[in-house]
Symmetry: C2
Subunit: 345 residues, 2 copies
């Protein structure tokens, strides 16, 4: 399998990406890499990591980069030759079997949607991510690929996130909840009330509405929401976790006795931090595309990007796009089934 890697994407790119690629070439022998970026700007790092073109490593030039301040559409308009768009193009042309980028999420969504198109029957792709809970993990989707959704989109996200959680956790029948403002089916906004009806009719393990209270402390395997809500929830949770560590530090350094306590229990803090560490999954897959695309967190470490390459390889091997499509039809939520009611955004 060949994976296209966006060398320019991420807060610490290209350095961390080059490190990740160097490691991946050693640790994941079954993967070949197409390293995409501005070759002149990369030359320092190519030398630093002693990377040489080979049967397993090819350099592909991309003239521009989509910057964080650019609109998502830059990837398909003003910056068609950006590293992220070139990656998506390589997958579309089947020169690569998947792509990995820790760059501009919106640009990755836009370019891969335009270049790769959707799996058959899918209207919009969704970004799925792994979250922690008291005992275990859960999947949330969408976390930001779609800021405005219709009920068909959410129903399709349920199918795609279900498949992702099966792959990830090996669950045979993951429980799926619809994020809402109350457990009862009458609670919610117009979008969730309509979506509730569709999910209820699907051959999935739909457990009904779940609330914010049911996320980190609940036992639902998959939580579905629109990308605006999911993005706000994910980032707010990251913010609260960060604030909590700051409060913990303050509380544990207030006096000598507490400091002594903190020293005795110092392993406890690193253990706590691990609950929020999902480097092993590498990033969030953009599911529903006719191709494999893993989007890394902006602050991705080399380890996270390396594991994103590993996950992209696995999904490409298992032909995830085809599996998504067949499950979408199995559940009766293919795009054409809704054509009269919801049109694509």
């Amino acid at each position: 399998m060949r994976i296209a890697v966006d060398a320019m994407g991420g807060d610490y790119a290209p350095d961390v990406v080059m490190q990740a690629v160097t490691d991946a070439l050693v640790e994941i022998p079954e993967v070949d890499i197409l390293l995409v970026g501005h070759l002149e700007k990369l030359s320092y790092y190519i030398e630093k990591y002693n990377l040489k073109p080979s049967s397993r490593l090819e350099f592909v030039h991309a003239e521009t980069v989509v910057e964080m301040a650019d609109p998502s559409t830059a990837a398909i308009r003003a910056k068609k030759n950006s590293s992220i768009t070139v990656c998506a193009g390589l997958v579309a042309e089947q020169r690569a079997d998947g792509m990995v980028s820790a760059g501009h999420t919106g640009a990755a969504v836009a370019s891969s949607t335009v270049k790769m198109r959707m799996s058959k029957g899918v209207d919009r792709p969704c970004l799925a991510t792994v979250m922690p809970r008291i005992n275990g993990k859960w999947v949330m989707a969408d976390i930001g690929a779609n800021t405005d959704c219709n009920p068909m989109n959410l129903a399709q996200f349920a199918v795609m996130a279900e498949l992702y959680s099966k792959k990830l956790f090996g669950l045979s029948n993951p429980s799926i909840g619809l994020l809402s403002v109350g457990g009862e089916d009458i609670k919610g906004n117009e979008l969730t009330k309509e979506t509730f009806k569709i999910l209820s009719r699907m051959p999935i393990n739909f457990i009904g509405n779940v609330e914010g209270h049911d996320t980190f402390t609940g036992d639902c395997d998959v939580v579905i929401c629109d990308g605006f809500v999911g993005n706000a929830l994910l980032k707010t949770s990251e913010s609260l976790a960060q604030a909590t560590f700051s409060w913990l530090r303050d509380a544990f350094t207030k006096n000598a006795v507490r400091k002594a306590g903190a020293i005795l229990a110092k392993d406890a803090f690193s253990e706590l931090k691990k609950h929020g560490d999902f480097e092993e999954y590498g990033g969030a897959p953009l599911v529903g595309l006719n191709g494999v695309c893993i989007i890394g967190h902006g602050v991705s470490s080399p380890k996270a990007i390396k594991n994103a390459i590993r996950v992209a390889n696995q999904f490409a091997q298992q032909n995830l796009p085809e599996q998504v499509s067949s499950r979408i039809y199995e559940c009766g939520v293919e795009k054409s089934a809704f054509a009269a009611r919801f049109h694509s955004m």
Copy 2:
């Protein structure tokens, strides 16, 4: 000032409410109380707390209670004689100057909206709440009064939450952010993009879009969102805080050394907990009504409900509804200014 208190509302009602009223009569001498509930069912507690009708305490019978599983509309349809609706009616009839309930939020919104109506120029009320951040506090609105909003609603919430933060924190010009999925004004969903334009034209300290990352770790005084998003964010944050304490407990009890550390630093944990403790504010005010209504958390303690009575008294004395109305017109976002573009939900 006379405050109507819903004796039946809350997970631990009526006991905690009766305790709160008993304390309030002693500690807040300027407040008289109308205690509303099923008098027969309350008789045990009336005796327990030795409550007697007086010039400062009146008992008002309410035949039913809106249960958590009831739809919000029960308060204004099937259960018009519920304790929550009777409270709202007492304010509407000016027999009370404000109300406090820790019961069904949706029912409180429905009954007070129907009974009290809006302040002049206001389309929908919003629920505002205080949240912690690394250094200080911020206000989030709406946290659940409105699951579907239009841009006019969000613009009005900004005015109402601004006023609440001024009262609460004594700020002269609180910074106001619009919750979105990115900092740039082009980021967001249809609702926030349209709202952004309106907020930009208002004479408020609008700092633009804020992300989830800017909440607990940021420095924005007021964050505006629709009630679906706000409710999800609030409850998810509560869930994450609860999970974090569970992980902390596990990590600190794993071995004898860590346990010793935890004992030395035990005050640090209670200090950490305090960041999430907002009992002093008593609850979330439903701002925008032509009357005062404070909604307590379902798990409210007697102290929280007592403080909600105190806050209701303050808001009634300051004539908050009139202040909301005049600021709404000052900002040019009165309902009639939008009549052609957005109709009430």
